[in-house]
């Protein structure tokens, strides 16, 4: 802001000089823009609304593509968030667009906790970014930012007022994300009803202290248009991806027997205003607000919770250093303890295994001994039997020798010896 620069000048006693010629640093914004083009942009939108209210259709219409979403069922047991990332390109600008959808919002009988998953999701994205920022080695300039920059809250077109679910959810979210309320399916409301509806909604929001996103009016170039648009909130939108011929052009429209609602006709609905504000005029501001306001708030709360403190400037670096040191030591201590534990466990396991193995060894030994003994036994028995056999054989031989001698001596009496031989043979 020119004002802040002047203020700084006064504070720091800096002089303002005039240049004697063309230096060339007016190319600085161009250099910056070129770098950004090379890096690419990212934008994350959260769509909150009941099932069937037209969130996916509106996204398709806004970004003029088809995001290939299957319609969700009405039977979800709880609210869950589905995030899908797309890479869009227009002329030389690459945009990484993430659309987060709330599936099952407003479908349950008990909707007490419907807002909780949404809040948790938003906080989770802040947490991831905070972790990255606090890392020692970090790559912030290449980091894919998943923090939600804008939240489109789809209001059911009852024509009366906001539902209590809407109020509760928006109240919980207004300090975490930029909320832009839109009236969905605006072709069901007549012009006069719409006017009354809008007034009622805005007054309810104000009386309940819900802080929705206000388009910034501090920059002269866009102050006027933003101020006008602020008066048209919430935008009454109609989405459609079907094209019909009106006059001699193809336009996006919804066809009814009684007429055609043209999406891009400002008399029919506020779609063009929404697109203008969301994308063409304030995208950068939405991202800045997310980072400078919502993220900083989250960061502050988180750090204070963790025990960091901002004391007076003198001791600040030390207290931070000490806290860092303390945390580091704690962490190291934790690691060491874990290491010890694991080592103990390892030692114990080794001991157990050793014991087991020893047991097994002993068993094997015993078996071996037993087998050996059996073997010895058997061997002994065999020896015995053999000895017996040998004895018998020697007795037989002696008898045989004696018999032969008798045979030779008693040749005359052959038959009896034969008989004796026969007997002997039979005997053997």
């Amino acid at each position: 802001m020119a004002a802040t620069m002047l203020a700084r000048q006064r504070n720091e006693d800096i002089r303002s000089l005039s240049l004697a010629g063309h230096v060339g640093f007016d190319s600085l914004p161009d250099q910056l823009v070129n770098k950004s083009i090379a890096q690419g942009f990212c934008f994350n939108i959260l769509c909150i609304g009941e099932t069937g209210i037209g969130k996916s259709t509106l996204m398709d219409t806004l970004f003029n593509t088809s995001f290939e979403n299957d319609p969700a069922s009405h039977y979800e047991t709880g609210v869950r968030l589905k995030a899908q990332t797309y890479e869009l390109q227009e002329s030389n600008v690459r945009l990484k667009l993430t659309v987060v959808d709330t599936v099952g919002f407003g479908d349950q009988i008990n909707k007490d906790d419907s807002y909780r998953p949404i809040v948790e999701y938003i906080d989770a994205q802040f947490e991831v970014f905070l972790q990255e920022e606090l890392k020692i080695r970090r790559v912030l300039h290449e980091y894919h930012d998943t923090r939600l920059h804008a939240c489109l809250y789809f209001i059911t077109p009852t024509g009366h007022s906001l539902k209590s679910l809407d109020l509760v959810t928006m109240k919980k979210l207004d300090s975490k994300v930029n909320i832009i309320p839109v009236i969905a399916k605006a072709d069901t409301i007549s012009k006069s009803e719409l006017h009354k509806f809008k007034i009622k909604i805005m007054s309810e929001l104000v009386s309940n202290g819900v802080q929705i996103y206000q388009f910034p009016t501090d920059d002269e170039t866009v102050a006027e248009i933003n101020a006008t648009m602020n008066g048209h909130l919430p935008f009454a939108v109609v989405g459609s991806t079907e094209e019909t011929k009106v006059g001699n052009k193809m336009v996006k429209a919804r066809q009814y027997p009684w007429g055609t609602v043209q999406v891009e006709n400002e008399n029919h609905c506020d779609f063009v205003k929404l697109r203008e504000m969301l994308i063409r005029v304030n995208m950068e501001d939405l991202r800045e607000q997310t980072h400078a306001r919502h993220y900083e708030l989250y960061r502050r709360c988180k750090l204070e919770e963790m025990g960091f403190q901002d004391t007076d400037p003198d001791s600040k670096p030390f207290s931070l250093q000490e806290t860092y040191e303390a945390k580091r030591n704690e962490h190291l201590g934790e690691l060491q303890r874990k290491e010890e534990e694991m080592r103990q466990m390892f030692v114990q396991r080794v001991k157990e295994k050793e014991a087991e193995l020893k047991e097994a060894e002993k068993e094997l030994h015993e078996k071996f001994e037993k087998l050996k003994r059996h073997h010895q036994e058997d061997k002994r028995k065999l020896e015995e039997t053999r000895a017996n056999l040998d004895d018998e054989m020697s007795i037989f031989h002696k008898r045989k020798a004696a018999a032969q001698m008798l045979q030779q001596g008693g040749q005359a009496s052959a038959p009896p010896t034969l008989k004796k031989d026969k007997d002997k043979k039979n005997f053997l």
Binding site: R15, V33, L81, K82, E120, V251
Partner: protein, 329 residues
């Protein structure tokens, strides 16, 4: 129960139909205009440090670069120029504007550098100053209640003046650059280049480049940070010309009917902005017109980050002030 299902399957690139007809136009590229507006509103900051012996023409060169009396000498014209006993760090800031673009320019001068008989450790005050700026930024960044726009006093570029001996780099030059090339972007220039003929200039440059490679000194633009092929081509061309042989002057003379900055001598007028006379224009292109943003980015994404890593792992500001030969860890 609730659960989040981040579905990050890579999707095919859907191109929004671009074109002049509003029917298919989404308007994503309007974000460039928004960014430009934001930048113009915020203004830019640039901090440049000049290092070199006294008498090499540092103040004149800075005045010539920015076409305004931005140097320290111009701010205190009545001061007797006494060479200080130790290296001092003097910083002067100005806000200059051109075509709606506001820039806060800070010039950090180092009187006394290399002027003593014993120049041991004359780089220490410089190193300390640079690390002090990093420290200040880190403290701001680490605060719980942070400012929306942290004032950036980190040194984005250090222009080192090499005396035109024509031989090679002196030991002082090598020692200084070795220690500082990992901490800040160094752009070496040959000062008072009108004392060298073109052949002497070419030999001198060649010798300097050899010396730099021999001692492992990585000057800006560093080869490892070239992002893509286009960058490489552009930066290679610059690296060929480095170090720039410059002449500074804030006096105008008539040459061929035009008024240009130059130095008048008995044998002719050295035109500062004439590419065949000296390389001042190239230096100005590099510093101001093409690589300013890149200088700032390398400082903040690489030098500052490595300071931060050292500081957070060692936990002691003194430990980080003397970078080891290997950098971190």
């Amino acid at each position: 129960m609730s659960d989040t299902v981040p579905d990050s399957r890579p999707r095919p690139v859907l191109s929004a139909k671009s074109g002049t007809d509003t029917f298919g136009y989404v308007g994503i590229d309007a974000v460039l205009e928004q960014m430009r507006r934001k930048a113009m509103k915020q203004g830019f900051e640039f901090n440049i440090m000049v290092v070199g012996q006294s008498g090499l023409g540092k103040s004149t060169l800075i005045n010539t670069l920015f076409k305004a009396q931005v140097s320290r000498k111009s701010c205190n014209p009545n001061n007797e120029e006494k060479i200080p006993k130790t290296v001092e760090i003097k910083s002067v800031s100005h806000v200059i504007e051109e075509k709606g673009v506001k820039m806060k320019l800070s010039v950090i001068d180092t009187p006394g550098f290399g002027d003593q008989i014993n120049n041991c450790n004359c780089w220490e005050p410089v190193l300390r100053h640079i690390n002090h700026q990093y420290e200040a930024y880190l403290c701001e960044e680490v605060n719980i209640n942070r400012k929306k726009c942290i004032p950036d006093s980190r040194v984005h570029c250090c222009v080192y003046f090499i005396p035109p001996t024509g031989h090679s780099l002196r030991i002082l030059d090598i020692e200084f650059m070795k220690r500082l090339c990992k901490v800040v972007n160094i752009v070496p220039v040959i000062a008072k280049a009108d004392t060298l003929t073109l052949e002497e200039r070419a030999t001198f440059k060649k010798k300097i480049k050899e010396d730099l490679v021999l001692n492992g000194i990585d000057i800006y633009p560093q080869k490892e940070f070239d992002e893509d092929a286009d960058d490489k081509v552009v930066n290679d061309r610059i690296r060929d010309l480095l170090p720039f042989a410059v002449v500074g002057s804030d006096k105008d003379y008539q040459v061929n009917g035009r008024k240009t900055l130059g130095r008048k001598t008995n044998w002719g007028i050295v035109e500062v902005e004439n590419v065949s006379h000296c390389e001042f224009s190239h230096l100005r292109e590099l510093l101001i017109r093409t690589h300013t943003q890149d200088l700032k980015e390398v400082t903040s994404c690489i030098h500052y980050e490595s300071y931060r890593v050292t500081r957070l792992t060692k936990g002691n500001p003194q430990a980080a002030s003397v970078p080891t030969a290997n950098g971190e860890d």
